[in-house]
Symmetry: C2
Subunit: 187 residues, 2 copies
């Protein structure tokens, strides 16, 4: 039962190089950076990228997995630390916005209907929507907000608002997200 087809040493090495190179390239040129650039920076051929990460989304997910996990785990923690669930929700959304606006092009990729980004989309949604739902439910239960907004709609809306938010002087995504969360309140 315990399969153990351990990967070859060179394959493990390359996977690491690729992750490093991708992280660096994403910072410098955004998550849409050419595959060839990433391969070159990692010192491998393009074939090697596709072997390890069949789609760009797989690579992006691998690079940001830790941060997404951290965000997901912050949800319950914030709920526990705040007396007002609405405040916890606002803080959590803020965390999510922080994450998105510092990853050049990520919000846009999340939105893309390109098949290659399907995995990315699915991962973010699977991991974060339940957390968002928890916060939303708590706020509804506390009578702080309206009860007719689906977690997935909120997540998508916030994601959309973050598109193109990086270093754009006359577009304040955080501000808009804040208005959205405010609009959620009853009364």
């Amino acid at each position: 039962m315990t399969e153990k087809p351990r990967k070859r040493a060179d394959a493990q090495r390359n996977e690491l190089s690729l992750l490093d190179a991708a992280a660096a390239t994403f910072v410098a040129a955004g998550v849409d950076a050419p595959v060839r650039d990433i391969a070159a920076k990692a010192g491998v051929g393009v074939g090697t990228i596709y072997r390890h990460f069949p789609t760009r989304a797989d690579l992006i997910v691998a690079v940001y997995r830790h941060q997404v996990e951290a965000c997901a785990e912050a949800g319950p923690a914030l709920l526990a630390a705040n007396t007002s669930p609405h405040a916890a929700l606002a803080q959590w959304i803020d965390l999510f916005v922080d994450f998105l606006v510092t990853k050049h092009g990520l919000a846009g990729a999340l939105r893309s209907d390109n098949a290659a980004f399907q995995t990315l989309h699915a991962y973010f949604l699977d991991r974060l929507v339940p957390v968002c739902g928890q916060l939303l439910d708590a706020a509804v239960a506390a009578g702080e907000i309206r009860d007719d907004l689906q977690p997935i709609t909120l997540m998508r809306g916030v994601g959309n608002l973050c598109i193109g938010a990086e270093n754009n002087p006359d577009y304040d995504a955080r501000r808009l997200v804040d208005l959205l969360i405010t609009g959620l309140r009853l009364k």
Copy 2:
């Protein structure tokens, strides 16, 4: 002074065909449809497209100009027809959302930082931001909403919320825009 370098008959004809073909193609395949497809549908070579419409944005603007103008003109009309400027604002935004969500891919194009879409961006902003500003000012003057939101930020936010809204069952852009406008209210 009155220059009259009238265009050649074939050029005028082709421009019309192109506009028709583009409109049809945009409906069927979105505003990102391949240039070659549009050229083929119009029965002209790709060179002819570029001669008439140097960038894709020029073509998009030409196709949707009438509708954008109509939207712009609806602003003052709604203000005059409503006793509450906030209600007028909500209705106007609704018109804008209607326009965007029925044009597959347009909201995304509006957001693109690709140089080719610069003109599109500029046209929409030039034409609609002042109208939005007028509505916003009136609502502020009536004491209905907070006074610290720039028209351009609002327009961009609404545009962003409309990205990917076409036939997507679990994403209700209109709903989110509504929350945003609600969040604007004082109290």
